[in-house]
């Protein structure tokens, strides 16, 4: 276990309020805002003896915000050849991680103390158990952050856009190695500006060959797409996908599912079965029917998009 520690853990000693708007990318601002929220939520949970809530908050922040998104974003930045940018990302990462260790310490004191010293966040006799508990920003400090909150909202929406873009890819079984030229049709001029400035990060997370932000985009014919809060994301498939073969694959799947559905329906229509089977088994069949209906519906939509 070794993180990028060019110098002695830059940022570990940094307070949330020390970060300045001008130095940071939207993703940096997003993770710092989320960290600030997490600090407030954890402290509040402890005040109210809601230990499970606190654990959930922390787990969600560390896994679903920090690991799933920020570290992914940071990879691009850490590989960049601009030392200033790398340094700034490191500062944010260490600040977040050192705060997380402090928040986790009361629950898991041993491993956090070990990591604290392993990361060089405290000298030998500076124990984590005696480090200061993080304090969320006061309203004045939040004001000092300027556009942090707006950027955090934008990044939340960007994450949704990326999730939907990735789903489009898996719906049509496009290998992760295939680069796709996504097109984004933004919902406003402001969004268009943000997306354009963020192209590199979005392209890397979507494994795109290019990202085209086009407010006037009008696909020549039906094309796989998804609606997001930032606008519509289109996935052109020419050259990426054999439309005919994909259509056949989806139709085969649909046929199989339709058969399964028929068999479940037969069971549920059978009065004997319904009368004799345990409630649990009947419940299972009903759930299965619901699942099959949803999957069939989705396949029908995917096939329709591929056209005739």
């Amino acid at each position: 276990m070794k993180m990028y520690t060019d110098s002695t853990a830059p940022g570990a000693e940094m307070q949330l309020a020390d970060f300045q708007s001008a130095d940071l990318d939207p993703d940096d601002k997003h993770i710092l805002v989320r960290l600030n929220n997490t600090i407030a939520a954890c402290t509040d949970s402890l005040e109210r003896f809601r230990f499970n809530d606190m654990t959930r908050e922390l787990y969600d922040f560390v896994w679903h915000q920090f690991c799933d998104w920020y570290i992914e974003y940071a990879k691009t930045s850490l590989n960049s050849d601009q030392p200033e940018r790398r340094q700034q990302t490191l500062r944010v990462m260490h600040c977040v991680f050192s705060h997380v260790l402090r928040l986790l310490h009361p629950i898991t004191p041993f491993i956090t103390e070990e990591l604290w010293h392993g990361m060089g966040y405290g000298s030998d006799d500076e124990l984590l158990m005696l480090a200061r508990w993080p304090v969320p920003l006061d309203p004045e400090e939040v004001a000092g952050w300027g556009d942090f909150r707006r950027m955090a909202d934008y990044v939340e929406n960007k994450h949704e856009l990326i999730r939907i873009g990735r789903t489009l890819r898996t719906d049509y079984s496009i290998a992760p190695s295939r680069l796709i030229a996504y097109v984004l049709k933004p919902e406003s001029a402001e969004t268009a500006r943000l997306l354009a400035a963020d192209e590199l990060s979005i392209a890397s997370l979507l494994r795109a060959s290019s990202i085209t932000v086009d407010a006037e985009f009008n696909p020549p014919r039906i094309m796989p797409h998804g609606i997001t809060r930032l606008g519509t994301i289109f996935m052109p498939i020419e050259g990426v996908l054999d439309g005919q073969a994909e259509r056949k694959r989806l139709e085969d799947q649909l046929k199989k599912l339709t058969n399964d559905l028929a068999s479940v329906n037969r069971k549920l229509d059978n009065i004997d079965f319904v009368r004799k089977a345990p409630a649990r088994v009947i419940e299972q069949q009903k759930t299965r029917k619901q699942e099959l209906l949803e999957r069939c519906g989705k396949l029908q939509r995917l096939i329709a998009v591929l056209g005739g």
Binding site: M1, K2, T8, F49, H105, T108, P109, L127
Partner: protein, 556 residues
Amino acid sequence: MTELAKNYDARAVEERWYRRWVEQGAFQADPAAAGDRYAVVIPPPNVTGILHMGHALNATIQDILVRWRRMQGCNTLWVPGTDHAGIATQNVVERDLRKKHLSRDQLGREKFVERVWQWREKYGNTITSQLKRLGASCDWSRERFTMDEGLSAAVAEVFVRLYEKKLVYRGNYIINWCPRCRTALSDEESAHVNTAGHLYYLRYPCLGGKRKEAVVVATTRPETMLGDVAVAVNPRDKRYAGLAGRRCLLPLLKRELAIIQDDFVDPEFGTGVVKITPAHDPNDFEMGRRHNLEPINVMDENGIMNELAGPYQGLDRFECRKRLLEDLTAAGLVEKVEEHTHAVGHCYRCDTVVEPRLSLQWFVRMKPLARPAIQAVKDGRIQFVPERWTKVYLDWMENIRDWCISRQIWWGHRIPVYYCRACRHEWAATRTPETCPACGVAEFDQDEDVLDTWFSSWLWPFSVLGWPARTPELAAYYPTRSLVTGAEIIFFWVARMIMAGLEFMDDIPFDRVYIHGTVRDDAGRKMSKSLGNSIDPLTVIDEFSADALRFSPRVS
């Protein structure tokens, strides 16, 4: 900066850091230091205890709170300690002795108590070393034991103060008795279990009047009839208006009984005629008092019938029930027998059926102590979390009964009451006296009984800080802040601590009572030995880590 090992060796890391924290004095509190005070007292586990998931959860919650407050910059103290656990420990040591074919009676009081101390020396640290492995950041330099010198002094002080205020008294009273442990139990120590039994309808022949006339009484414990002193009917029960003032004959013993009238008799129960056995039933005891009837105690402390049971002397109570029913049946005096399910008290330590029994015991008058303790919760100075426990607490407090505090065992704080052999003077003293304060002779006896274990733990929030001495710890850390405990000891412990704090410190002992749930298995069932679904927390620590155990307690 140390390089992080690739393979995380939890055991080595956890031992290393625990040692470091202790060596650096990071758990140690300084009453003179700055910062808001945040003190927590551990619910002292029994000295016989072995860490189970319940303890692990309880200690983890306290440790989370304490570590968090410490990081917030509070002047933090977590006091650890163990409870001498009177009956429980005595039972363990007795079991040990039995393996060596010894009994406590053979050893005698002094030798036996010595044995218990030896046992404690040898095994008493098990649970505290287990708490250390869990990571508990207790101030071990302030560890206490409910029988240590300081706490024993606090117990004596409290007893004497209550004695002088006439808030403890000695009285003949019907109490819950465990014939196995041979001691009185408090109401809370007698666990009521719904038990399938029988309701026996017995004929008591009437005297005078028509021949063969009889009253029929219903009872679940026929052997107690040997101690009957009367039968009673409700004065408004028209069926029995003609019986008033007449007498009947107690079968088998052929003793004459008065037929009395009392509003307490429930005309709906059985036939509406009840037997009155003041020495063996709490309601009959009260009724006997109202009618000036002398109780007849027919059992000894082992649940064996005594000389007053006539031909049944020497029989165990259940054997006596059997024999007596055979005799009554032969005499044609059993009218009928019905299946009957009712709540029967069981000893919470050994599960023996509790016998209500008349005996001389010490009590604390609770009503005067309860009043301010009810107020402290009603006005929000003390808050229960979750809030629903407030009602449970208040309901119990508003119906509180006197607390039977004497126990007929040897392991515990001996009651500091002395009886002069010369002038019969009785007095209480915090130290063993030299002479009788009334007549000056040196011949006197100390009361044989010891105090209920909870009589020391109800003082815990201030006794561990040095009370009755005015220590810097007491000044700095009382009142403590959060009390973390399970619901099963709200009456045994939490309520009594609130009463003791207000009585002796004139202040609440803590301001938040956090009641946590029980640990459950994946199927949502309570963990128990009998279900075989309990997880040993030490196995989890050994196989994974203390951190893993702390991170994942499943609580309901």
